[in-house]
Each structure stands twice: as structure tokens, then as C-alpha cells.
Symmetry: C2
Subunit: 381 residues, 2 copies
């Protein structure tokens, strides 16, 4: 392999694929980035077996010549040092030459780097995806759906399927669900599907989706999502992002969501979040995060927390609407803050079906398809 390439494009590609590299890999060659150069351009591949990312750099783009290929070829270079050094090379052009035994020479301005390369034949092949079920959705929508749900996945690795976000496609409807036994976040959206086909029990690691979100462009460019047997492939313009589907059967969470409420509260989201945040600060010192909500006859609520060692926080808030039975309810304030943070709405609707039943938090607009659920705490007072 011998070529020159513009640093800026190589660097961008490296930053994308390096998200798939794990420091904890037990397979030495997976600590490297595979580079393939041929007449179509350069392709970079990185993988930790759970995620694989492939990024393609074309020979030219918008009439700018990016790659000048002299000899096609492949090599695997240890990512550790390679990722950082490319970014810091002095000139805008980089020459890469692979010699005998995969010894790789990188030249740029006054710098010459020799890197011990590995045999690309030993690099595992990417999963083959049969293109049977494909949906398209805007990048920014996918990004916000990940943000609104992924924080609620379980961190307990003993039930792997719950560490993922469940994807369900049914009758032109895509739904994300994340649940960790104490809380749940879900969001739905209409999508256009060419053929009618259902997708069920596809759970994708929350961590993986957050890595994907970092690569997703902010604009509403369309992303292709292809569902295969045990893999999902996200197709961006020049990036392929493969991820494994988590093992196990995702539990049915639909029964957790009540159909009607005993008590309904509509309140300014920011004011509630600020009040709970102050109460959280104190409850955090007690390591319980417990905050209490008391509803009053005069259409106000009281948010409070207390610490035997430090003191007490009491907050009085007016509400926009309060109907039904007046409750006293305790909950994990950190979970409530997480839920409020992803609701981008001035007013929120909170529904209760009793002091020991799930609390349902939604934007006040009826049309919203975002839903957050947290379970209350049983407290003695």
C-alpha cells in the first residue's frame, strides 16, 4: 500500500471508527484499526465484537482530491498511538507506505513515523447482513429518541437484555423502551416502512446507542436501519455502524402503564426540576436521594427532603392544575430529575394512581409520544 491523503479526512474517519475500540479487548488485533486502500478510496474498520464501525473515505469529494493512490493494499495499525499521532502531524498531507512485514511508514512535513503493522488477513470479518428489514429515519430524531430513553436502561449486567433499549416496529410505528425495574422511559414515532413487517424483541445496548449518537449528524439527514437475525446495521452516508442484538427476552412492560389516573398534576417543568434539584442536594448527603411530594387543598405542592445530620429543605410550588385525591408520595429525586431533563416542554403532566403506584410523567401536550415512569418509595411517614 502506498498513498497520500489529506490529514483532515483521515483524522475524521479515525475519530469515528475509534469509538468501537475497547481498551479491554482480549484479542490483540482488535486493538488496531484495519486500513484498506483500493481504487475506490480508503476504508477504516474497528471492532470490539459487540460494535463494529466502518468508515469510507472517497478519493475525491466536492472536486477536492482527498487520496492519491499509488499502490493498493491493507494493514492493521495499533490504535493506541495511531489515533493521536495523526491528529498531531505537522502538515495537511500525509503519506502512508506499507513495506515488508507490514512495517508502515507515515510521513508528514518534518515528521517520519515507523509503525509496526499487523497482518490484515488475521482481522475478523464483519457480520454479513441480509437486507431483509430496513427502516429509514431522520438522524436528529434518532438522536433525540436515544437521549430520551437510554439513561433509563439497567446497569446490572446480570440481565443483559435490560441494559439495552428495546426497539419495536409495528404498523408504521417505531417505539423505544428502556427500563431498569425502578423507572422506564419510552418514546414513539411514526415511520414510513415500505413493506409492513414487525420488529420485536430487538434490544440494543444503551452504551452502544450513546456511542452511535456521537457519530450521528445533527441535521435531519436520513439514516438507514437494517435489522438482521442477531445484528442491527446503521447506515450513514459514509459510515456503517454494526451492533449486536442483546440476548434474552425483553419483559412486557405495557402492563406497568396505567390506563387512567386517580390524581393528575400539571406544573411548570423547570420550576419543578429546580425545586427537586435543591431537595436532591440534601437527600444525596443521606445517600438515599429520597424526596417527598405533598399535595395541598390550595392547589400548591410541597417538595421536601431532610437529613438528620444537616437539616431540611422545603419548597412550595404553585401548580397549573391539580385534580383527584391529594397524595403524599416519596420517590428517588435523581430518577425524577433524569426524567424531567429529557422532557422539552414548558408544562408537564404527572399522573398518579396511588401512593405506591407508578408515577407517569409526560409533556402536557396530548400529542406527545414521550413517557417517563418512576416507581415511588415506600416510606414510613
Amino acid at each position: 500500500m502506498k498513498l497520500t491523503i489529506l490529514k483532515e479526512y483521515l483524522n475524521e474517519s479515525i475519530q469515528h471508527v475509534s469509538k468501537a475500540i475497547s481498551n479491554k479487548t482480549t484479542i490483540p488485533i482488535l486493538s488496531g484499526i484495519k486500513i484498506d486502500a483500493d481504487v475506490n478510496g480508503m476504508t477504516l474498520t474497528a471492532s470490539d465484537t459487540d460494535i463494529s464501525i466502518q468508515s469510507h473515505i472517497p478519493n475525491e469529494k466536492n472536486e477536492i482530491s482527498i487520496i492519491d493512490l499509488q499502490k493498493p493494499g491493507s494493514v492493521v495499525l495499533s490504535s493506541k498511538f495511531f489515533v493521536e499521532i495523526i491528529r498531531k502531524l505537522p502538515a495537511s498531507k500525509i503519506e502512508i507506505e506499507v513495506k515488508d512485514h507490514f512495517l508502515t511508514i507515515i510521513r508528514s512535513g518534518s515528521s517520519e513515523i515507523q509503525l509496526v503493522g499487523l497482518d490484515p488477513e488475521e482481522y475478523p470479518t464483519l457480520p454479513s447482513i441480509e437486507e431483509n428489514r430496513r427502516i429509514q429515519m431522520p438522524s436528529d430524531l434518532l438522536k433525540s429518541m436515544i437521549k430520551q430513553t437510554s439513561f433509563a436502561v439497567s446497569t446490572n449486567e446480570s440481565t443483559p437484555v435490560l441494559t439495552g433499549v428495546l426497539w419495536t416496529v409495528n404498523e408504521g410505528n417505531l417505539k423505544f423502551t428502556a427500563c431498569d425495574r425502578h423507572r422506564l422511559g419510552s418514546r414513539e414515532t411514526k415511520i414510513e416502512v415500505n413493506d409492513e413487517f414487525p420488529v420485536s424483541n430487538v434490544s440494543i445496548s444503551g452504551k452502544t446507542l450513546n456511542e452511535l449518537a456521537k457519530i450521528l449528524p445533527d441535521q435531519n439527514t436520513l439514516i438507514d436501519v437494517i435489522f438482521a437475525e442477531s445484528q442491527v446495521l446503521f447506515q450513514l452516508s459514509s459510515i456503517l455502524f454494526y451492533t449486536r442484538v442483546l440476548d434474552g427476552t425483553y419483559p412486557d412492560t405495557s402492563k406497568l402503564i396505567p390506563q387512567s389516573y386517580q390524581t393528575e398534576l400539571v406544573i411548570n417543568a423547570q420550576q419543578l426540576a429546580n425545586a427537586i434539584d435543591r431537595a436532591y442536594l440534601l437527600s444525596r448527603e443521606e445517600k438515599t436521594n429520597i424526596v417527598k411530594l405533598i399535595m395541598r387543598e390550595d392547589q400548591t405542592i410541597e417538595i421536601s427532603s431532610s437529613s438528620s445530620e444537616l437539616g431540611k429543605v422545603t419548597e412550595q410550588l404553585d401548580v397549573s392544575k391539580l385534580t383527584g385525591e391529594l397524595l403524599r408520595i416519596s420517590f428517588n429525586s435523581k430518577y425524577m430529575l433524569d426524567a424531567l431533563k429529557v422532557i422539552d416542554s414548558e408544562l408537564i403532566h404527572i399522573g398518579f394512581t396511588g401512593a405506591m403506584q407508578p408515577i407517569i410523567i409526560r409533556p402536557a401536550e396530548e400529542s406527545s409520544t414521550l413517557l417517563q415512569l418512576i416507581l415511588p418509595y415506600r416510606t414510613t411517614s
Copy 2:
């Protein structure tokens, strides 16, 4: 105590004094902030016995009424929660009332906070400083002298005096010296002293000076520095910053600095730093940080590092001037980068007296009073 105060001023004062609070204190009352309110305003005090910071808030400033005092008094409040909650209170005015047993009520908008307070009588008194030796210097100069030297202090607590920056005042000259047996940073400046008096063997913890630098204003307002027996007091407009002088006798470092050089090199500082940074990246993987410098007949130098596992970095650089014996010399690249980072000069002068003698790095301008020294490594090649 009962008063109302503008949040913004209280918060600023809390941020200043809280730098003196250690999480590791074994004296419970020192985890708190002492608040004194009287007809002159409010004073906040925090201390970890090594550092003590006192911040004064006047009743009014620039015709803005800051404090409305109803009843003077004192209390000590646990800093843990207090520091954060004040910043997050909803209204711009805060009411503070100390009741029986130092129970403190803080009211702001819809929030009411009850804090368990401690008896201010139990709070240690600040060191008394006899005003015998005082210098004045601009805040921004003090800040940059701290930045140019404090990184070079020793981190080895077994010789406490070397973990500090040595202050020497002699004949209208103030000098900072920091040294950790492998490197040294020093900077001098002319100062005006009313009486001629020497200051010697005053070593102030590098960590403490970095905390002080965070409080120092960027403008060239004058700071008073008062030297007492075992304490130094920094007087800012409304802040008193006390620090302990470190125990022990600071070694004489003057003999380390050669009077003349065998080899002299003048080179662009940024180009050298970038080249060493790339070589450092590789040497870091070897955990040695060793980088080699080779001088050539053709007025160029080569910077290189190598890793048996990864490969080699080689950099060719032109120099502005190279005179004397051509050397091959190895050094800790991290130390060299630290030294180059604080030299704000386009060209630097590096002086050598042999491959195993100290390397002296200075701005190329003769007038500069900044000097960095690093010891070379003995290497086999």
C-alpha cells in the same frame, strides 16, 4: 443573627473561601464555613489549618445595598451542602436567620432551608500576623510567576520543603524557585520595597499557590504580601489568604545553573514543542517518556523516540542558531514540554554543558528572567 443579602455577593464569597476546605479534615468544625455578621458587613472564614481564607462582604458597594442587617451574630455552617444550595436558590435575595442552638433558617423565594449550625466559639482563631515585612506586586504578575514555577515542585511529601515554591527577596528583587531533583523552574522580578529587608527560606506549597492563583484577579491590581514568622498573608481587596510556610531548609540550587555553555541552540519554541509532543506520544507508551535530541553539522536537529512494540518517531527541525560541540542528549520529554509550555516567547535559547549536564531553557531575549532547567537521562545508545 438575622439579615438579608444579595445571592450573587454571598455566592462569590463562598466560592472564594471554600477553596480552603479540605474533604479530609479530622477536625469536624473545619468542614464548615464561619459566618460573622456585624454593622460592617459579613465575613466568611474557612480553613484547613494549612490555608485559611477570609472574605468580607460590605453592606453596600457602588451604591448597591448588599446586606440588610437586622441582628448581628455568628454561626458555622457545614460547607458540604451550603456551598451548592446557595448557588441554586431561586431568588436574588436570601434571608438568613440563626435561631436557638445555631439552627439556621435560609429563605429565598419559594425555598426554605433549615441547617444544623455549629457554635462559632469552637472555630479556631486565624494566625496573628505581625506586619513586619510587606511587599506589593501586581496580581497578574504574581499569577504568571506561580504558573511558570509551581509545576516544577516536588510531589514527594518526604521532603516537605521541596513541595513548595521558594520565595527570596533581596535588594529589590523577588525570585521564585521550584525544584524536584530532576528539574527546576525559576523567575525573577524587580519589586519596590519600602525598607530594605531580605526574605529567605520561605517555601510556600505549590498546591496552595495554585489555589491562590484561582482567586487572584487577572487585572494588575496590587496585592500585598506580608511575611511573618511561619505564615504568609496575601491581602486582596476584600480577601485575606493565609498560608503556612513549609518546614525545613530549602537547598541551595544556585550551583546547579552553569555560568557558561559548551553548546548553544536557538530554535522556534512552538515547532520544537510540537515535535517533542509527537515523540512524547510514543515514548509515553513505553512509560519512560525518553526522547533523544541529536545535533547535526548542517544546522538541523533530530528529535526521536522509539518503542520496541509500536515503532519509531523521527523529527527533523531547522534551528536559528547552533554553536559549540554537537551533542546527542536524552531527556524526559514530559519535563521538556512542561518547561516549553510556560515560555511565552517565539524563540528559545537552550544551553548545554555536556551530554550529562543540566539543560537550561530560556526565552531567547537576553532580558528575560525566566529560567527552566532539566536534567538529561543517561542512555546506552
